[in-house]
Symmetry: C3
Subunit: 277 residues, 3 copies
């Protein structure tokens, strides 16, 4: 039987890799000092190596430029991010696969441990890796009512690594995190709000951006250095875990992806996608 | 003064040990693959060495048979389990006392870290060790409104070991766990539901079993290996704590039980039970 | 720009040090065995070296006298405690500064890990170090509706040390603790109750004391040794952290206070206070 089950048919992107495209747009509000980072690898912002590299570079720039606050959002009208690009894991080239996972690790470390304040304006579905990006921000505003969010890896036959788990436990109670992670549960906007997975609900993307700016405006009144140190102290255990276990975490991922059962599962899954088209 | 205070008079069983009896019934639904494990050491399922050994063996079998899901419940009409059998601790034989505690440790490790999904159908009172068994499952459905549940060890002058504490913190917020553990609080069905100690309330045992099957049916749709790994990852710290501290935990228990004050307290307590009869 | 921002103008005390005064009053109810510890360094119970030393000594005495339960409250009509006395950090004498921080560490270890049960009757504002004292107790009753409480260190450009963070995470969910600590948020009585930062709301000081006695009366029915061991087990990680990191924590505090930017900030702040007068 297949190890991959598709919850959101059609959500996964199958376009070819291209490093010449620009998958991330950054715009800065000169008045407020707030940067808006928009993922634009359409249709669904599948996180492939290039998109992750761009995000990672953008986070470096914001750090260097002493960014006041950052809003992470999507150019798609219905999807925040569909998560990791499955094509990166299907019949992978060893070096690229390593780069892919290492870049994901680094992107998370930079976002989860950024010195600037971060908000996710979740303007669409946000499964798996998309949810991870949202969880790594300090505040989440989600457009409702019709979208879904969650770490649904187990539904796909995959296990969310330890740092995905820590990212969720940083936001919702341990009890809820265990249930959500074992079931691979996707939450509706309202359910996500109720359990604390998102902090506010917005009527549309514009409303989400307005609310995000309001949150960041409050944060900007707090002395910067103290604010950053308080954040890093609160997130220290999770950050240190990945920093100290990068190699082991990478090895585990590579071993998993290269299992014949996993490759076969991906094969069946991608075939079924083709047929749908 | 006595170190043992009885909260639920008459709840503790005083029958003799007997290894020939069958204290656990296992029935399997061929259609669903769900096993129902019923504790039947009447009247109150006091956890003595033999009951624990049977539970431990049953959990091994379920693991070997690749059980799809397990419901833990009781044959008593009013008690899920009254907790550890006090007679195991009163004037104990050294070897049996060691076996008793080691078997409790192993039973917990197997249940808390089982690869199959687990639900407690709590059809009666569930103090101390009874509550521990319920907490070790992944989901709790409790019959209401008149039963009680809790780790009430401190009320009996006993300290719940570290892994009892972890089991509770895995389910309810740390703040509530500290209050409940220091006070040895027993929760009514409604209070338990409100604080998150149980996930659902049932009208009677049959209703509890139906709800348990519904939960397990949802779980069975999640790919097994991923589901199990997610559960073990979520419970890793608690499991590793006991695995790494079994000897020390056993030593602490033996030292405590053999304190003259504790033996004297048990003596007074058991005398008072006899007088009641 | 200043690293210190004043949220509660006028709250900080500027009186001179004097070791001859008595900053703490202790009264014992012979009938119940409950001790009421009243901070009376008026006007606002700023925590200077002498007040902390008195508190530390009082906690030692209660421990020695096998106190049944303790209520911590304030003689001020509007302030529980304004937190650390800024004058201890402004142009400090090296030895006194060391003593100051070490005494704060010891006071926290004694209060957070006391063998007797503890309640804070919060009869006024309770920012920063005042909030820390309240968080270290096992139960909090706050007079409403017009007071505020919180670890607002970041608002003052200061970072709450790790053990302040642990004290807050022991009481409210990690998610709420991160938001509160990064923003340096002050909660109104009602907000504090809603998030779980306080357990009960009282109409005035007398009502708070009555409620505190009721809580301690319940606690006194639990066998003492078991109760204490359960509390210490629940608080073990936080207590061990500080016990194992006292030197490093002190070093970090001394380094921070002696930063030119911090001293300049304090200078500007104290000047602004003088002008107000």
């Amino acid at each position: 039987s297949s190890v991959v089950i598709n919850l959101n048919p059609g959500v996964w992107c199958t376009r070819n890799f291209s490093s010449s495209e620009k998958f991330v747009d950054v715009s800065m509000n000169e008045k407020t000092g707030i940067s808006t980072v928009t993922m634009q690898r359409l249709p669904v912002n599948s996180l492939n190596l290039e998109l992750l590299q761009e995000l990672s570079n953008v986070f470096d720039s914001l750090e260097k430029d002493k960014c006041k606050g950052m809003i992470l959002t999507s150019a798609s009208p219905t999807v925040f991010s569909a998560g990791l690009d499955i094509l990166e894991m299907y019949k992978p080239k060893p070096d690229r696969l390593k780069d892919f996972w290492s870049t994901l690790q680094d992107t998370w470390i930079k976002l989860f441990g950024s010195s600037y304040a971060t908000v996710a304006a979740i303007n669409g579905h946000s499964p798996a890796g998309g949810c991870l990006l949202a969880l790594s921000c300090e505040y989440r505003i989600m457009v409702g009512p019709k979208y879904t969010i969650g770490l649904n890896e187990t539904q796909l036959g995959i296990v969310a690594p330890k740092w995905f788990q820590y990212s969720m436990e940083n936001v919702i109670p341990k009890r809820q995190a265990e249930l959500a992670l074992t079931m691979g549960r996707m939450f509706s906007t309202e359910e996500a709000y109720k359990v604390g997975l998102v902090d506010e609900v917005a009527t549309d993307k514009n409303d989400a951006l307005v609310k995000a700016e309001k949150f960041l405006s409050g944060m900007s009144k707090v002395p910067t250095m103290a604010r950053t140190l308080a954040k890093l102290s609160s997130r220290q255990e999770a950050l240190e875990w990945l920093k100290n276990n990068k190699e082991q975490d990478l090895k585990q991922f590579l071993g998993f992806v290269n299992l014949p059962a996993v490759q076969k599962g991906l094969d069946i899954y991608l075939e079924s996608l083709k047929k749908k088209k």
